[in-house]
Amino acid sequence: MYHRTLFTLFLSTILVSALPLSVQSQSDTGGNTETSGGNIALVQAVMCEDIQDQLPQNPTTVFSIERRKAICFTTFDPVPQKTVIYHHWFHRERPSAKIQLTIKPPRWSTYSSIQFREEDLGPWRVEITDSQGQIFQVLRFSITE
């Protein structure tokens, strides 16, 4: 089923809090976990160390700063029409990045990531929201030594 998914990768560099942030999106993955509101549904949301073959690798909630990046991987199904969702990255209560990601019908996988700096140690969370700011899910993780 994964082999039939449409995969699109957008690579961009976003400067957030003076750190380079790479954002990538990926199309269609399977899954049936539901967390959404409205017409689109979030079926998978996970923090992981890498993406390989359009799949999240080594899902975890603790990232060593030596690994240099954390990825928030999300899959929506169904996606009735082309729309945007957001990944809000927070270091404790301080907003760090708000990344807009486009998703398309009929189902879509996408992800964003941050690169670590020394001062990024501590607890983080990513709020996955729709265009109106309604939260689908909150993922929590820590950056440690």
């Binding site: 160390e49 080594n58 899902p59 975890t60 404790r92 209560e93 607890p123 929590r140 440690t144």
Partner: protein
């Protein structure tokens, strides 16, 4: 002159009471202990103390040390050496006498010693025979006993007539304030109309009273009564006051007493005036003299705030008070005597500026407030609310390189927190205290406390204070 008037006008009623009370205590010390050796030594010690103060002010270091040592030692010596004198003054006086009576009779005289001694011996049924000669020479009438020449005291009289004392059977002759002879043998009365219960002691007393103008006191050891023989008569005297009167008349004290009384009263009046002047001087030197400035850090206490609100933030926790007073008072200030209490009853939610007034600062008596820094305190108040917040683990440390944490379930997932509305509006997560990764096994369960920041936040009573974390690790896929 203006300074003097301002000094007087600055006196509070408490200060007047203070001076009056201590003056009266000093005056009572004089009244109770005047005429005693302890009092004379006390005056000497006071002079030494003044000398030491002068030595200190002149910078005579060693002299002041030595005098200070002598004064300290002297105070101890007074209590030890004169303990009997002090005790006799206090024991001989009623509470009224100690607190109020200024009668010159507080000094124990020879007459009082005799009176007290004979009544005490009568109470113990201890026989005694005491001769107080008049103008007649008694030596021709008595058979001399043993020369004694001891200053009269209650203890000495008691010991002379103690039943086991070899001289207790004879008479003691008292002249002035001395016992001049003991174990003297008196001539016996030849009268045959005496009651049968009068024994040899009474006959001896009467015998001398018949042949001289002496006054003889006889204490019966059988009945414990006290009889005075004077002018050839025997009379039982039951009241101390009566015996005192008889002795005063016999010794010719009464006529002299009027003049002494006036002198005594003048002395007491002078002592009272001196006490007030002396204590007033000491009070001014301690509380007003030698102004010293000191800066004191005092914590601020916020009072009377609306219970529904809490203090979120204050610009300061302590204020700096510049205090003025005498060196002695400044040195004796204790931290709990200086308090800054700010009334928050009129404060509203949000930032408030509260001015520190003189009324909001409590100081020990005699200390004057010169300045407060800062004069205004900013206090941020907030309404208390409850909010359910998710809990997140604050991991620290490092897992082994090839391991990843795949699962960490936290229980309970949310905690109800009580805190200021404006603070809780900015908080979306409660974190645990730092949880180290280094000691984790492959899987397990650990507990962690919550780290509440800011500290004004509190866990609601129905919520748990700790969370349980179930975790799972595994080898990383390369």
């Amino acid at each position: 002159m203006e300074k003097f008037i301002s000094l007087i006008s600055s006196l509070r009623w408490q200060d007047i009471v203070d001076i009056g009370l201590v003056s009266y205590i000093l005056f009572r010390f004089y009244v109770l202990f005047r005429g005693t050796n302890a009092f004379r030594v006390l005056i000497g010690m006071t002079i030494l103390w003044f000398f030491q103060q002068v030595a200190v002010s002149m910078g005579l270091i060693v002299t002041s040390w030595v005098v200070q040592g002598v004064v300290a030692l002297g105070a101890f010596i007074i209590i030890v050496i004169f303990r009997n004198e002090i005790r006799s003054v206090l024991q001989a006086s009623h509470l009224k006498t100690i607190l109020w009576d200024v009668s010159p009779k507080t000094v124990i005289t020879t007459i009082e010693i005799i009176v007290q001694s004979v009544y005490e011996m009568a109470a113990r049924k201890c026989g005694a025979l005491i001769v107080i000669p008049g103008k007649d020479d008694v030596d021709e009438m008595i058979q001399p006993g043993i020369p004694w020449k001891g200053e009269i005291s209650k203890e000495m009289i008691s010991s002379i007539f103690w039943p086991d004392n070899p001289v207790h059977d004879g008479a003691a002759i008292i002249q002035g304030d001395q016992i001049v002879q003991v174990a003297a043998i008196l001539p016996l009365s030849r009268r045959d109309d005496l009651p049968t219960y009068y024994g040899t002691r009474h006959r001896a007393a009467l015998g001398l009273a018949e042949s001289t103008d002496s006054l003889v006191i006889a204490v019966s050891e059988e009945r414990g009564d006290m009889v005075v023989a004077l002018d050839g008569k025997l009379m039982i005297v039951r009241q101390k006051r009566k015996l005192e009167q008889i002795l005063q008349e016999h010794m010719g004290v009464a006529s002299k007493k009027g003049r002494e009384l006036i002198k005594e009263r003048l002395m007491i009046a002078a002592a009272a005036v001196f006490s007030v002047i002396f204590i007033t001087g000491v009070w001014f030197s301690v509380s007003r003299g030698g102004d010293t400035l000191v800066t004191f850090q005092s914590p601020v206490v916020y009072m009377n705030r609306d219970p529904a609100m809490e203090i979120v933030k204050t610009s300061v926790n302590t204020v700096s008070l510049e205090l003025e007073g005498s060196g002695a008072l400044i040195k004796s200030i204790k931290p709990d005597q200086v308090q800054v209490k700010l009334d928050m009853s009129n404060s509203k939610m949000g930032p408030n500026s509260v001015t520190i007034t003189r009324e909001s600062i409590s100081l020990p008596p005699g200390i004057v407030l010169k300045d407060v820094k800062p004069a205004v305190v900013e206090v941020d108040l907030d309404v208390l609310i409850k909010k359910e917040l998710p809990v997140q683990i604050d991991w620290v440390g490092k897992l082994p390189d090839n391991f990843i944490l795949t699962e960490a379930k936290i229980e309970p997932k949310t905690i109800e927190i009580i805190g200021g509305k404006r603070i809780l509006e900015t908080i979306s997560t409660i974190y645990t205290e730092k949880v180290p990764l280094n000691n984790l096994d492959v899987k397990g369960t650990i507990t962690a406390n919550l780290a509440l920041t800011p500290a004004s936040l509190k866990i609601a009573p129905n919520s748990k204070e700790k969370v349980t974390i179930k975790y799972l690790t595994r080898v990383r896929n390369q």
